[in-house]
Symmetry: C2
Subunit: 453 residues, 2 copies
Amino acid sequence: MSKPSIAKGTRDFLPSEVIKRNYIFDHIKEVFKTYGYLPIETPAIELLQTLTGKYGDEGDKLLFKILNNGDYLAKANPEALANKDSNAMLSSISRRGLRYDLTVPLARYVSMHQNDIQFPFKRYAIQPVWRADRPQKGRYQEFYQCDADMVGSESLMYEAELLQILDTVYNRLGIDVIIKLNNRKILQGIAEVAGQSDSFIGITVAIDKLDKIGRDKVAEELINLGMDAQAADIILELIEIKEIETIATKLASSKMGMLGVAEMREVMDYMSDYTLNCKIEFDFTLARGLSYYTGCIIEVVADTTTYPDLRMGSISGGGRYADLTSMFGLKDMSGVGVSFGAERIYDVMEECNLFPESVTKSIDIFFVSFDDVSHRYAYKQVSALRAAGISADLYPEAAKMKKQMKYAHGTGAPYVAIIGSDEVDAGIIAVKEMNTGDQGNYSLTELIEKLTS
Amino acid sequence: MSKPSIAKGTRDFLPSEVIKRNYIFDHIKEVFKTYGYLPIETPAIELLQTLTGKYGDEGDKLLFKILNNGDYLAKANPEALANKDSNAMLSSISRRGLRYDLTVPLARYVSMHQNDIQFPFKRYAIQPVWRADRPQKGRYQEFYQCDADMVGSESLMYEAELLQILDTVYNRLGIDVIIKLNNRKILQGIAEVAGQSDSFIGITVAIDKLDKIGRDKVAEELINLGMDAQAADIILELIEIKEIETIATKLASSKMGMLGVAEMREVMDYMSDYTLNCKIEFDFTLARGLSYYTGCIIEVVADTTTYPDLRMGSISGGGRYADLTSMFGLKDMSGVGVSFGAERIYDVMEECNLFPESVTKSIDIFFVSFDDVSHRYAYKQVSALRAAGISADLYPEAAKMKKQMKYAHGTGAPYVAIIGSDEVDAGIIAVKEMNTGDQGNYSLTELIEKLTS
C-alpha cells in the first residue's frame, strides 16, 4: 500500500474547480476564435536542445529534465560521473524536458511547419507548462498558460486586435480591468531626450521597479548608472506623463521616440470605432519584457477602483517582438501576442465573487426513489431526460431517503425528483425546486420542456 | 541557432487537427456531463511512489522519470554510482514521473480526497498520458486518454449507464460500432463447468488470443495448461455461444457462472426501455483486462459490416473492478468505467470520412481590400462582426489582390468580403460565397443577420 500523496507544487482539481477554470478558458477560447486565431497543440515533452538557453541561466535551472529511458548510466559522461558533476553529466543522461512556456514551442512549431501554415499565422494555445520554481502560495510547478500570438506581419492592426480581445474577454468575464500600454521606442526616445541612450537597458530595469521602490529610490538607481540628477529628473518626469500628445511634444527631437508615438497613434486609430468596455491607459513607466519586446508593451491589471481590497499583480501581458523564430533559423518574422494569466484570473474571480451562480451547477435534476420498482421507473425517466440533452442523475438504489437526499443536495442540482409508488402508478414525476421549495407534478414531456426552456 | 526538431514519439497538431480532435472530445464531454459525470484534473507529474508497481514490471520501465532538480548527484546512491547501476540509482536521483494512465491517478485522488467528495463518485477526465513505448505508426509516447468512471457502488445501474454513454457518443459521432460484453464470472463459470477452475488465468490468456491465432492454436494452448482435449473442447464450445439464455442453461451447475448470468440480465434489464443505436453483442471470448476486471467487461469495435476496409482494434473498452483504491489504503470501493480511445476514433473518422464538412471551417468570413482607406473600413466591419460573435478576419494591409485572395482561400472561410472605394462610399459590404460563386451586397446589419441565421 502506498500512502496517497502528490508532488510538491502540483495540484488536484475538484470538479467545482475544473468547471470554474473551464468557464474562464471557454470564454477566452470563444473570443480567440471570433478573432480568427486557430488552436494548435505542441507536446509537453520537448528536446532539451529546443528549450535550453532560451530562458536565461535561471530558466535553464528551472527546466524539468526527463531521464533517458533504459540503462541511462551506460552512456553517462564517465568524467562527470567520477566527479559527481551533475551539470556536466546532464546532457549524457537526459535529452528531453518539459515545456517551460508556450512561446518557444510556438517558435519551434512555426519554423518546423513553415510550409504547412500561411503567414500571418494566428494561433492560440491553452496548455500546461512546468517550472521547477520553489513552490509557494499561488505559485505552482505545473500551471496553464493561455496565449494568442500572430507571427509574420509588422502590421499594427494586430496590436489593436489583441487589445480588443483583452477588452472583450474581461468584459465577458465581468472583471473591471485597466489595460496599460507602452512602447519600447517611446522608452528609447525618453532615454535619448535625457541624453542617456547608452544606459537604455539600465534605465528600463530601474523604472520597472517604480511601483515597488518609489520615485526616490529609482532616481538613485538612475544616478548610479552614471547620469546626473538632472537627467534622472527628466526621465522620471517624462515617464509619468499620461497623454500621448504630451509625450509627442516632449519627444519631438527623437526620431525613435516619434516612431513610438506614431505606432501608438496608429493602434488607437484602428480602434477608433471600437467601443471599449474597460480603460486603456498610456503608462510610460511600464517596462516589462524589454529583453524581447521591441514595440508595443501591454499589461492588464484588475481595476482597484472597483476592487479596493484586491492585492494582485498583472493578470495579462503581451507585446510585439520583432524576431521570434530566428533562434530556429526562420528570419524576419515579427510577432505580437498576449497571454492570459488564467490562474490569477481565477483567483480574482473567486476573491471578488465574480463567477455566476449557475456555473457551479453540475447537473440539472437528481432523482431519488422509495423502492426498487420506483428506482427502475426513475432510471427510465433519467434515461429519457439524458437523451433530450438534460443532465440528470439518480441514486443507484432505493437507499434510505435521508441518505439519498443528502447526496442529491451534494450534487447541487436545482431540482430533485422524488419517485414513489404513486408517481409510478400515475406515470408522473414529482419535482421539488430546491431554491424555493416549490413542488409540482410533471409528465416526462412537460418536465423536458420545463428543463430545456 | 537550434535546428527545430521534436522529440521522437511526440506530435505537433496543426489547427485543422486540433479542431477535429476537439470535435471528438467535445462530443464525449457533452455526453459524460449529461450522465452526471463531473470533470476532475490531476497533475501530469506524480510521485514515482504513486506510479511504480501499479503497471507491472513492463509498465515500470515505460514510466517517464523526471530528474531531481539542482545538484541531483549530491544525493545519488554511491554504490549504484560506482557500479553504474541505473536501476539501483534511480530512486536516489528521481522522485517524480509522468502520468502513465488516468486510472491510478483516479485511485490516488479518490483516496486523498475521500472527505471532499461524495460516493458514488462519478468523474470524467480527458488528459494526456506518457509512455516510453518504442514509437511506431499510430503509437505515440504522449497521447490522450478519455475516461469516465464511477467509484463507490456495486450497483449494476452504472454498467447500463456506461453502455448507454458508449452508444450515445458513437451515435452522435456517426460511427457504427459493435459493443461487446462479457463478465469475468461467466468465464469463471465456463472454467468450472469444464472442470478447470484451477487454470482460470491460463484459460483467459489463451482465449484472449482467439482472434489472432485461431481455434486450433487456442485448443493447443489449453491442452498445454494440463487439461485433456475434451475439456478444451467444452471451453471452446461454451465461449462461442452468443446468447445469454443459452449460456445460462450450460452454466446451471456453476454458482459463479450463474451470478455472471444474473449480472448480465440485470444490466440488460436496466436498458430495456432504452433504444439502442448500435449493436450490443455478448461475446464470451472477450477476455481482456482480467488482471483487474472482476465483473463486466466491455469492448467496442467499429462495425466492419459498415466499414469493410477498416483495420482497427478496439476503440473503447472498460469494465468493473471490485477494488480500485485499496492500493492507496481506501478499502471496499467497487468501481466501473469506460475509456474512449480518442486517437483511434480520430483515425476511424478520418479513414471513413466521418467528420462533417463544417468542422474544418476555421472562420466565417474573410475580408480583402484594395487600398488603405478600404482596409481601415474593412477593419471596422470585421470588428463589428466579431462583436456580434461572428468569426471574422482580414488581411493586415491592402496587399496585392492575388496574395490576399490566396490567403482568404487558405483560411477556408465560406464567405469572402471584397472592399474597394465603391463599397466604402456606399457603406456596404460586397460578399462572395466561395462554394457557389454567388455575389451580393449587404449592409453590416444584413450581413450579421445572414451569418448568424
